[in-house]
């Protein structure tokens, strides 16, 4: 696409948010970065511009304003923050793609707080009924953004959603960030994706992968 899309990244200074922001800044996107702490946001901006002086980024003071201006909204926030932010952006996110990256982990990282018949992404869809919610980036670790090729294999990044155009846009974002996109299915498949992330976290803790690990589908 020639027309530059505007992406709002809410929670841009977190481990995941900063990885997404840095990697997307290399693509044909204009990024609106929002986080609660302005000083951290300014540090992130300096880091991005040091590596890529032509990056089209702007710091935003308000998640609602950033989402109003955006074509795509990435919520790079932990699951417990989801409800509050959804209320702030509901009106301006109407009909827009909203990407959920959250894994609804419990405090001890050994289970999910969501019921088995739902997922963080499906809960977000209920909060934003007129938005096109897509699950993406939840199956990769934050460190993977700096190194998307691990043991000579490009990590897969799974995507789930119910709108075909939104899935296509999310796939393009995943490619720009550096992972191999795999569309896993409808939004209900987020349940599986969030459980895959839980399993990877547990294996990481057990086997000492040092948080640099990912999923890869092997096939012919």
């Amino acid at each position: 696409m020639n027309t530059k899309q505007t992406i709002a990244i809410i929670g841009a200074t977190g481990n995941m948010g900063s990885g997404i922001s840095k990697n997307l800044s290399t693509g044909n996107y204009r990024l609106l970065l929002f986080a609660n702490e302005l000083s951290k946001l300014q540090t992130l901006e300096t880091e991005i511009l040091a590596k890529n002086p032509t990056a089209d980024i702007e710091l935003s003071e308000c998640p609602t304003e950033a989402s109003w201006e955006a074509d795509v909204i990435i919520l790079a926030l932990p699951y417990p923050a989801q409800q509050q932010i959804a209320e702030k952006i509901r009106e301006v996110a109407n009909q827009k793609i909203v990407i959920s990256i959250a894994n609804p982990l419990n405090e001890t990282y050994d289970g999910l707080v969501t019921a088995p018949d739902t997922s963080a992404a499906e809960e977000l869809q209920k909060l934003l009924p007129n938005s096109k919610v897509v699950k993406a980036f939840n199956t990769v670790f934050a460190a993977d953004f700096a190194q998307p090729v691990i043991a000579e294999k490009q990590a897969d990044a799974f995507i789930a959603g119910d709108d075909q155009d939104a899935l296509q846009t999310a796939s393009e974002l995943v490619v720009t960030v550096g992972f191999n996109p795999i569309i896993a299915g409808g939004l209900h498949v987020s349940r599986t994706l969030e459980n895959m992330s839980l399993l990877l976290i547990q294996l990481n803790l057990k086997n000492g992968y040092n948080w640099l690990a990912g999923w890869k589908i092997l096939h012919q």
Binding site: N2, T3, K4, T6, W68, E91, N94, Q95
Partner: protein
């Protein structure tokens, strides 16, 4: 956020509050900064935009690299590339914000769905396209039949206050004139006041 959109809609076909709320579900509120694009040549025009605030232009670039402005749009106007929007084929035009803009977008899928489910939306679109067709015909006839001074007057009638908001070279491009010719017309008209 949708005030002008529904004001224009209600002028063409009045809506109840429930109908407004039904349509609202399909609308995309969007902001563009000055010089940002809603559409660039080679992409499919995926939505039509009603301007709540600001101004925009559509233009194409000829093989010699020369820009030709094909339309301006101000508050309350709808802008898009209809052939690309309808056919879902790449556009040959660019749509750019001339000022910071607040827009209401209707995507192709939302447009198709509303046409199917809501007769009043179909009426609204029919009247919108009829008006656009009449404006296009008037512009063509003006090109053929009016003197340059009268063509400029007709332009100012169509786009009130535009001379204060848009650079003169863009108005010249829209009228198919050189900036020098436009400048002569303007000074003639000022002298005759």
């Amino acid at each position: 956020m949708y005030e002008v959109f529904f004001q224009k809609f209600n002028q063409r076909t009045p809506l109840t509050e429930d109908e407004e709320n039904f349509i609202k579900q399909y609308l995309i509120p969007k902001k563009l900064r000055k010089r940002q694009y809603l559409l660039q040549e080679g992409d499919v025009c995926k939505s039509i935009a009603l301007i709540e605030k600001g101004s925009m232009r559509t233009y194409l670039v000829d093989p010699a690299g020369q820009e030709h402005i094909t339309a301006f749009a101000l508050e309350g106007w709808t802008i898009g590339d209809l052939p690309s929007f309808q056919s879902e084929l790449p556009s040959i035009q660019n749509i750019e914000a001339l000022e910071d803009c607040e827009l209401v977008l209707v995507s192709k899928s939302a447009h198709d769905e509303l046409l199917k489910t809501m007769p009043k939306y179909e009426i609204y679109i029919r009247l919108l396209i009829t008006d656009a067709y009449m404006a296009l015909q008037k512009r063509t006839l003006n090109m053929i039949s009016l003197s340059l001074d009268d063509r400029y007057k007709a332009f100012i009638d169509t786009y009130p206050n535009i001379a204060q908001r848009v650079p003169q070279h863009m108005i010249a491009s829209y009228m198919g004139l050189s900036p020098e010719t436009l400048s002569r017309i303007r000074s003639r008209m000022n002298n005759s006041k």
